[in-house]
């Protein structure tokens, strides 16, 4: 994150917990990705799922998953969809398929010289939301990175600054 960005606002908008999401964010703070699982058939489902799409059961519990998966699709966002995301652009929103089956919408962080591609291996990373230097910090958020991407240091993990986004971001100003 650059000094310029800090002046504008956090790259990850501040996210607060509610009662229903407390276990999810507690897990994230421990470095674990918590999703749902159908008690009937064992299907592993996205965290926000209410009904198992295979059997129709609403009897779901929670399970920690590996955090590994593959990239289904991604979008390089240049026009922020809401004011709290303005400091983040350009960023990558990704559709990730976890190894256990469910799809998640999450930020793709870090950079990779090869750039994203469908089917690329990804793994979960955890980043603070809100402005870390200006408490109160928000909850820890699961995000994803290409497995070959550099480490999870703040510079690498918080912006989509890879050659791909720069190369395709011409004629924006």
């Amino acid at each position: 994150m650059s000094a310029r960005d800090r002046a504008v606002g956090p790259v990850f908008p501040l996210v607060a917990r509610d009662e229903a999401s407390a276990a999810f964010f507690d897990a994230a703070a421990r470095g674990q990705l918590l999703v749902r699982r159908c008690r009937i058939g064992g299907d592993v489902l996205a965290p926000e799922t209410r009904t198992c799409p295979r059997c129709g059961s609403a009897d779901l519990d929670e399970v920690v998953v590996s955090g590994r998966g593959t990239l289904v699709s991604w979008a390089v966002v240049h026009q922020a969809p809401l004011p709290s995301l303005v400091p983040a652009v350009p960023y990558i929103s990704a559709l990730v398929e976890l190894a256990e089956g469910p799809w998640l919408l999450a930020r793709l962080v870090g950079s990779d010289p090869a750039g994203p591609r469908a089917g690329a291996e990804v793994e979960v990373r955890f980043v603070p939301s809100g402005e870390p230097s200006a408490p109160p910090a928000g909850e820890v958020l699961p995000v994803f990175a290409l497995v070959s991407a550099p480490g999870t240091g703040a510079d690498a993990a918080t912006r989509a600054d890879g050659p791909m986004s720069e190369g395709e971001g011409r004629a924006t100003s």
Binding site: F12, P13, L14, V15, A16, R17, D18, A20, S21, F24, D43, L45, A46, P47, E48, P53, V72, S73, W74, A75, V76, V77, H78, Q79, P81, L82, P83, S84, L85, A88, Y91, I92, S93, A94, L95, E97, G101, P102, W103, L104, L105, A106, R107, R117, A118, S129, G130, G138, E139, L141, P142, E168, G169, A171, T172
Partner: protein
């Protein structure tokens, strides 16, 4: 079933479209209904059914009947399947007429998302982040950044591109063709010629989608009047006969094996409507396809069977959809260059084409017109098959 030809569109009403400020959606809706009735040579006293749909703002409802001071109605409802609403309303009107519960049904769409001194891109609402930020799992999803249709459709389009090799230059062909059609439409917002190079140079919104892949935002209202085919024949305008209709809905399947972004509910809906109409894609003279994004046109053409799955990008290349091309498509400029009235954009232009009132943009043949509506993030679909001719005795 072959009874769909019992209904026809007898009237079309369109208010001023675009930066129309100082009018409520309800006021515009009322005007569009009056215009549609007058177009048909009917009066408010003839109206016994009213179906209403709103757009981004969703601020028009059944109170419209009171605003119009209608007489007794046998059918009154608000319909919302997003971009599929227009097709759904026409089908419901036809069903009500066939069932004898109404004889003259107005279907109206109205929206006023544009505000003075606010960019059009701000029209789409986003999840509200409170003063303290976003909350719960919804907050985590907000932080994913995929919070509006531009980004979600970009994810769908990217998946199609990665799987099938569809290229941005091919999406550009859709925008370029529609702009060429828009030149002949006095109601179109964008009528200056457009090139693939200009499309490629337009600023990225959510790659792979660029500005010129995305629809306009429009204030205004559009209404059609549906009545029995026999009655429509005696009215002021040439009747536009309904040969077939269909709806298909599928919540986004967010799990392994999902074909989201590759196949849409149009794949079920189109064949259903064409089967009812007794036609196949080879019979279609004009397509009016819902085009919230260029990509939507490509995937809908595939799903309807105009080309094999995955070949939509190649199909639209070389000006196939443009004036003089092999398939007249979005002949009024669509929502990319014409006006953004959700499903009423393709439907209104289909009525114009079926009547032969397209002027310099009239398609060379108009015997069978296919109309699509797509809503949500590829979750809702409606199809209509329209024709200037009654179906019986005309089916090939």
């Amino acid at each position: 079933m072959t009874g769909a030809d019992l209904a026809a569109i007898a009237g079309l009403g369109m208010t001023r479209l675009g930066k129309v400020y100082g009018r409520s959606s309800t006021s515009l809706a009322a005007e569009a209904v009056r215009l549609a009735l007058a177009d048909a040579g009917l009066s408010l006293g003839d109206l016994d059914g009213l179906l209403i749909s709103g757009g981004i703002r969703q601020d028009v409802g059944v109170s419209l009947a009171g605003v119009l001071s209608t007489g007794p109605l046998g059918l009154l409802a608000q319909v919302n399947a997003f971009g599929a609403s227009a097709g759904a309303m026409v089908a419901q009107a036809a069903q009500a007429i066939a069932a004898g519960v109404a004889s003259t049904v107005a279907c109206v769409f109205a929206d006023t998302p544009l505000r003075p001194q606010r960019p059009a891109g701000a029209a789409w609402g986003a999840p509200k982040a409170g003063a303290g930020g976003a909350v719960g799992l919804a907050g985590w999803q907000l932080a994913s950044g995929a919070t509006n249709p531009n980004i979600l459709y970009a994810l769908a389009a990217r998946r199609h591109m990665e799987r099938y090799g569809t290229r941005s230059e091919q999406l550009a062909e859709v925008a370029v063709a529609q702009r060429a059609w828009a030149a002949g439409n006095p109601l179109a917002t964008m009528r200056e010629p457009l090139t693939v190079e200009q499309h490629q140079a337009s600023r990225p919104i959510a790659e792979p989608l660029r500005l010129l892949d995305c629809c306009l935002v429009t204030n205004g209202a559009v209404a059609v009047v549906v009545t029995a085919a026999d009655r429509a024949a005696d009215l002021r305008q040439p009747p536009v006969h309904l040969w077939g209709y269909g709806q298909a809905h599928q919540p986004r399947r967010m799990l392994s094996g999902s074909d989201w972004g590759l196949v849409t509910p149009a794949a079920r809906c189109g064949p259903q409507a064409m089967r009812m109409a007794g036609i196949g894609v080879d019979d279609v003279d004009v397509c009016e396809l819902y085009d919230c994004y260029t990509y939507t046109v490509v995937v809908t053409l595939e799903d309807y069977g105009f080309c094999a799955k995955g070949e939509g990008g190649a199909f639209v290349a070389g000006g196939r959809l443009a004036p003089g091309g092999k398939l007249a498509c979005n002949t009024g400029g669509g929502q990319l260059s014409g006006y953004y009235m959700w499903g009423m954009t393709p439907l209104s232009e289909a009525v114009v084409q079926a009547r032969g009132q397209g002027g310099t943009r009239q398609a060379p043949r108009n015997d069978v017109i296919l109309v699509s509506g797509n809503g949500g993030i590829l979750e809702h679909h409606a199809t209509l098959v329209l024709s200037p001719h009654r179906r019986r005795g005309n089916a090939a």
